[in-house]
């Protein structure tokens, strides 16, 4: 008989899960979560960002469970996140308070505080390093010891805080003036999303977006389907402190906060030249595109800033300026889910379609008895 996959589902699933476990373990080796946490910074950062939860431990666990498959690992974190009650909201975090580890500006050569290259892949040669096959623990500890000895012991007075590049332009009146907007941001994971969206919703969906999808659409935007070449005003990677209101306190003073830790983020501000008419004269100024995400995810953060700017200009007729086109299709869990659902059986629906197709071949409805 043909494909009658309606019986024995329970057993089939159990066997499939066993087989999956076998694939993970078949070489008789186990990777420790701690090792993943120490050695897979790139993957962890990406998954925290897409998974929308800041926890290196959980990300490492998810990576282990998913055998390093980023879409699965993201999925695990997201599903876990759904079960967490929202106990507190942090105080607003000001990115200007960032303890900066890396910071570059493509707009100015000389910026107050200087360019800080920090840790980056930008200038490594992408040559496979076969020596990594034989890296020994003794050697790396020795190297670590020597290298860290060169670190300065003094904590800088400003705790690594640096002035923002775009403030320079803003002081000169070259930035598009925007009104300060302190309305409570909308949380798309707690409240349903509605179109047209508010910027807080857009930024949240973009920062949760799948890295490849955000990059692809950002790329499309600067290649010809959106804004012309933007300039990275500033890209910074560093740590931001997170504070909560002291739970019992009534007053909202500075003292009633609890420091709960810090998060590493990548923040990007891109500058996009824009012509505006004022008093009948054309005036060029810069509008901003904003990108931020957990961990060190530079390409994603830049692409996000490009898309943020594009979505502010919804009147332009191009897919990357269409908020529904961008925001509805870049989420990893949604996209992979719906694509993969095509694997589910569709035989009721197909049967119905088949009935319809056969009837249309038979001819007009009016010629038969109803």
């Amino acid at each position: 008989m043909g494909y009658v996959a309606v019986k024995g589902g329970t057993t089939a699933i159990e066997e499939s899960i066993k087989r999956l476990r076998y694939e993970r373990l078949k070489d008789g080796r186990v990777i420790e979560v701690e090792v993943i946490k120490s050695c897979m910074r790139g993957l962890i950062d990406r998954i925290m960002s897409e998974g929308s939860i800041y926890s290196r431990d959980l990300a490492a666990l998810a990576i282990k469970q998913a055998e390093g498959n980023p879409e699965e690992a993201t999925f695990l974190l997201r599903a876990y996140r759904s079960t967490l009650p929202r106990m507190h909201y942090s105080r607003p975090i000001a990115p200007k308070d960032m303890c900066v580890e890396r910071r570059i500006s493509s707009a100015f050569k000389d910026i107050p505080g200087g360019q800080i290259l920090g840790a980056a892949y930008d200038y490594v040669h992408r040559l496979l390093d076969f020596d990594l096959y034989n890296e020994s623990k003794r050697e790396i500890l020795q190297w670590l010891h020597l290298y860290t000895e060169t670190f300065s012991q003094e904590v800088p007075e400003d705790h690594g805080k640096l002035p923002k590049v775009i403030d320079l332009l803003r002081r000169e009146g070259l930035m598009t003036e925007t009104e300060r907007d302190d309305t409570e941001p909308q949380d798309v994971t707690r409240d349903n999303i509605r179109f047209p969206t508010r910027r807080s919703e857009r930024l949240q969906i973009l920062t949760r977006g799948e890295t490849g999808a955000v990059t692809a659409l950002g790329y499309a935007a600067i290649r010809g389907y959106g804004i012309v070449h933007p300039t990275v005003g500033e890209l910074r990677v560093g740590y931001l402190p997170v504070h909560l209101d002291y739970p019992m306190a009534n007053s909202q003073t500075e003292d009633d906060v609890i420091y709960i830790g810090e998060i590493q983020v990548t923040e990007v501000e891109t500058l996009v030249p824009e012509v505006r008419e004022e008093n009948g004269k054309a005036k060029i100024e810069f509008s901003i595109g904003y990108g931020i995400c957990y961990g060190q995810n530079e390409t994603k953060a830049i692409a996000m800033s490009v898309l943020d700017n594009c979505l502010e200009k919804s009147h332009i007729n191009s897919p990357v300026h269409d908020e529904e086109f961008v925001l509805m299709h870049i989420d990893c869990v949604e996209a992979t889910g719906f694509i993969s659902h095509l694997k589910l059986p569709h035989y009721v629906t197909f049967q119905s379609e088949l009935d319809s197709v056969r009837k249309t071949r038979e001819g007009k409805q009016h010629d038969e008895k109803i």
Binding site: A12, S82, N192, F338, P345, V348, Q351
Partner: protein, 283 residues
């Protein structure tokens, strides 16, 4: 750091929020209520909308039945049922009449449902107007204005081309004379079961973040023209090879040995109960 999961997976706040959206959906039959759809432990597009409804509603005394394309034992149904049971510990059943809560993908059971039962349908694409208008912002407006010319025109064009409407499953319906609604990809055969049903029907689309409902005893009309009435899949001459029933929705199968097409009830539990002679008084 990892904590154990709550009863029915969600925290209670999330459940309440989903129930609030559900109440609104019942109050406005056929209207798609947006909600903050959660990520679930199963993939988006695999029934997460239905699952969120089920988990927000389920209590310890509920008896759950899960079906996928008519079958309790299909892998996806089993998988969803397993998750519900492992996070709640409730009892499950394959018998439609015994269940208090039924989650189904693309079928409404053959046994008529009762007032004390709830059926939850999984929905992949909740927007019946999506084929004629890709933008959510615009389809919302069309619904608000009750501007349904586009979808009627689509059906008109089908008749112009093929001499009849050529919709398959998910044939659009109008609920309570107001909203046009996607009944989820149930066969046209099941559309009629929604009309004036004794049961509350809830529809959940997880990926598209919408909940909608058909309350009990509500008028549900399949869209059709006065001179081209709605027709269902023709099951009249088909007999189930296993239980001998006629007039229910059948799967078409092919016997490789005899090279003949034969039919089997799509609703597997119904078929089994008929075979075991448990069904006479139920139908």
């Amino acid at each position: 750091m990892m904590k154990k999961y709550n009863f029915a997976f969600f925290d209670e706040g999330s459940k309440r929020e989903i129930r609030r959206a559900t109440l609104k959906a019942i109050a406005i039959p056929g209207y798609q209520v947006p909600f903050a759809s959660r990520e679930m432990p199963i993939a988006r597009g695999w029934g997460t909308g239905g699952l969120q409804l089920t988990l927000s509603l389920i209590g310890r005394d509920d008896i759950i039945k899960v079906i996928d394309q008519g079958a309790d034992e299909s892998v996806n149904a089993v998988n969803i049922k397993k998750l519900i049971i492992s996070t709640t510990g409730v009892q499950d059943t394959e018998k439609t009449a015994e269940a208090t809560l039924i989650q189904s993908r693309h079928r409404i059971p053959e046994v008529e449902l009762r007032e004390d039962q709830i059926i939850v349908l999984q929905v992949p694409l909740p927007e019946p107007l999506r084929t004629i208008e890709p933008s959510e912002y615009k389809t919302k407006k069309l619904h608000a204005d009750q501007d349904y010319n586009g979808i009627w025109l689509m059906l008109f064009e089908q008749i112009m081309k093929h001499g009849r409407m050529s919709t398959g499953a998910d044939h659009p319906v109008q609920v309570h004379g107001r909203y046009i609604m996607a009944p989820s990809p149930i066969p046209r055969f099941d559309n009629q079961k929604l009309n004036d049903s004794k049961t509350l029907t809830l529809l959940g689309a997880g990926r598209e973040k919408k909940i909608y409902a058909v309350p009990p005893y509500t008028k549900v009309q399949s869209l059709a023209f006065a001179d081209y009435p709605f027709t269902v899949e023709d099951m009249s001459a088909k007999v189930c090879r296993l239980c001998g029933t006629t007039g229910v929705y059948m799967d078409e199968l092919f016997d490789r040995d005899t090279e003949e097409t034969y039919y089997q009830c799509n609703d597997v539990s119904y078929c089994l109960q008929r075979e075991n002679k448990e069904m006479d008084d139920l139908r």
